[in-house]
């Protein structure tokens, strides 16, 4: 997508706002590193839906879709393509 870099930057910025670290690689598993808090996933879904105008549904709930900046970006791209 043309705006792919912008989407990824927004996702990265959101994650950095909500974790205790100042850097995160796009392919880094944020759950495995123990960076996320109990409400983080809910905040992340709210952010993705609001920021990109997509609706996350039950079929998107695979854990893999949310583990890294890259995976979240791929999910957003798939959702946007389907709109």
């Amino acid at each position: 997508m043309a705006d792919n870099a912008g989407n990824k930057a927004a996702i990265r910025e959101f994650i950095l706002e909500n974790i205790s670290e100042s850097t995160v690689r796009d392919d880094e598993d944020i759950f495995e590193r123990g960076l996320v808090r109990s409400m983080f996933v809910m905040q992340l879904v709210l952010f993705v839906e609001q920021e990109f105008g997509v609706s996350i549904t039950g079929e998107d709930l695979q854990f893999d879709n949310f583990r890294t900046v890259d995976r979240i970006d791929e999910l957003v791209s798939r959702k946007l393509a389907a709109v």
């Binding site: 109990s38 983080f40 809910m42 549904t57 709930l61 854990f63 949310f66």
Partner: protein, 374 residues
């Protein structure tokens, strides 16, 4: 930001006030004594599309926006905490199914809840897993016919009345959510009576003993099931409880203003005593403050703002504590009358304590607010 109600919101609020005054206030003490809501009020809520008004019309709601839903929750909370709790739970279950279930699952169960044809219950808490609900011990195993459930749930609001239960269990080591319908073999409910407050919330303990449900009843399975279905539903419930606590506190304030105007001691209405005025002033200001936090949470929720969850936590934390303090002061201002059956403030005090516990204790919320802010 000025949280002024629009003309439409003012009109809606007036209708909620009338609903509470006409249908809840006159009956709430009786329901509390009988430890059960009347069937007629549940039917009325369903017919009025007030059980889950935030659902789309075709799904059994009335398409109510989230800010107006807050105003409704406040008035229900002022009239009867149990009715407010019923409406919150129906919303938690229906929206979880609508958002995270398949279309077939949503079509099958959500309109039944919205219209009141069947009451829903949210079955997360277990006898040994309350605040740490993520680590519940209820299990689900795959079987030829679907899944077999084993375990117990406790303190389940409207578990005595519900026909549809959203049940959380561990399946293959990960959280899962199922719908279990009343009447399923191996599933039974036992009433819990004698509660301190919210006595008409018809709590039950649920037992699943080799209870088999079909594949079609699995709503979600995987690590995010708890993070989104369970936590998301509790977030919805917290918003309702926050506003409901403001309503409860407002009910206490109104009762206290009336009582201290009418009650004469030492030759003057007791509101003329400075120590009484101090208590009234604390109630007035804390109710206003808690209401503003709810309005702020509502405005953020309406925009799907990323800070909406944290602000809802703050609103519930502050409002539930405000509710308890206001009810405590209201009983004190009513003196001996405050502890008797003739005034609603003693019911409000008991209900207020429960609202500091449900959808996350105040202590859990302190931890969560700090975690999300620091």
């Amino acid at each position: 930001m000025l949280y002024e109600l629009t003309p439409q919101q003012q009109e809606d609020r007036a209708s909620f006030v009338a609903f509470a005054d006409d249908h809840l206030v006159p009956e709430a003490d009786r329901w509390d004594r009988e430890q059960r809501l009347s069937d007629s009020v549940v039917e009325l809520l369903g017919k009025s599309r007030l059980l889950v008004p935030t659902l789309p019309t075709e799904a059994g709601g009335s398409g109510m926006d989230v800010e107006t839903y807050g105003l409704l929750s406040e008035e229900l909370g002022r009239g009867c905490g149990n009715v407010r709790n019923l409406v919150a739970v129906q919303g938690m279950v229906a929206h979880a199914l609508l958002k995270w279930g398949t279309k077939a699952q949503a079509d099958r169960w959500v309109p039944r809840i919205g219209t009141g044809e069947t009451v829903g219950a949210f079955a997360l808490t277990e006898p040994e897993a309350g605040s740490d609900a993520r680590n519940g011990s209820m299990t689900a195993e795959r079987t030829g016919a679907g899944f077999v459930l084993n375990g117990r749930k406790k303190w389940i609001s409207f578990g005595q009345r519900a026909g549809i239960f959203l049940v959380f269990a561990r399946l293959e080591g990960e959280p899962a959510a199922f719908v279990v319908e009343r009447g399923t073999d191996g599933f039974r409910t036992e009433p819990i009576s004698g509660l301190l407050g919210l006595r008409a919330s018809e709590l039950a303990e649920l037992t699943f003993d080799g209870c088999v449900v079909p594949e079609a009843n699995l709503i979600s399975h995987g690590r995010l099931t708890f993070d989104l279905l369970a936590t998301g539903s509790l977030d919805y419930g917290r918003y309702s409880t926050a506003y409901g606590s403001v309503g409860l506190a407002q009910g206490c304030l109104t009762a206290s203003l009336e009582y201290t105007r009418e009650r004469t001691q030492f030759g003057v209405p007791i509101r003329d005593h400075q120590l009484v005025r101090r208590m009234l002033t604390d109630m007035i200001s804390s109710v206003e403050a808690a209401r503003l936090l709810c309005r702020q949470a509502g405005a953020l929720r309406a925009r799907n703002h990323k800070d909406a969850i944290r602000q809802t936590l703050i609103a519930k934390y502050v409002a539930s504590r405000t509710g308890f303090r206001a009810a405590d002061d209201a009983v004190q201002l009513h003196g001996a009358n405050g502890i008797g059956p003739g005034f609603p403030v003693q019911r409000h005090l008991r209900d207020a304590k429960v609202q500091e516990i449900i959808e996350g204790t105040s202590q859990i919320q302190q931890v969560q607010i700090a975690e999300m802010t620091l």
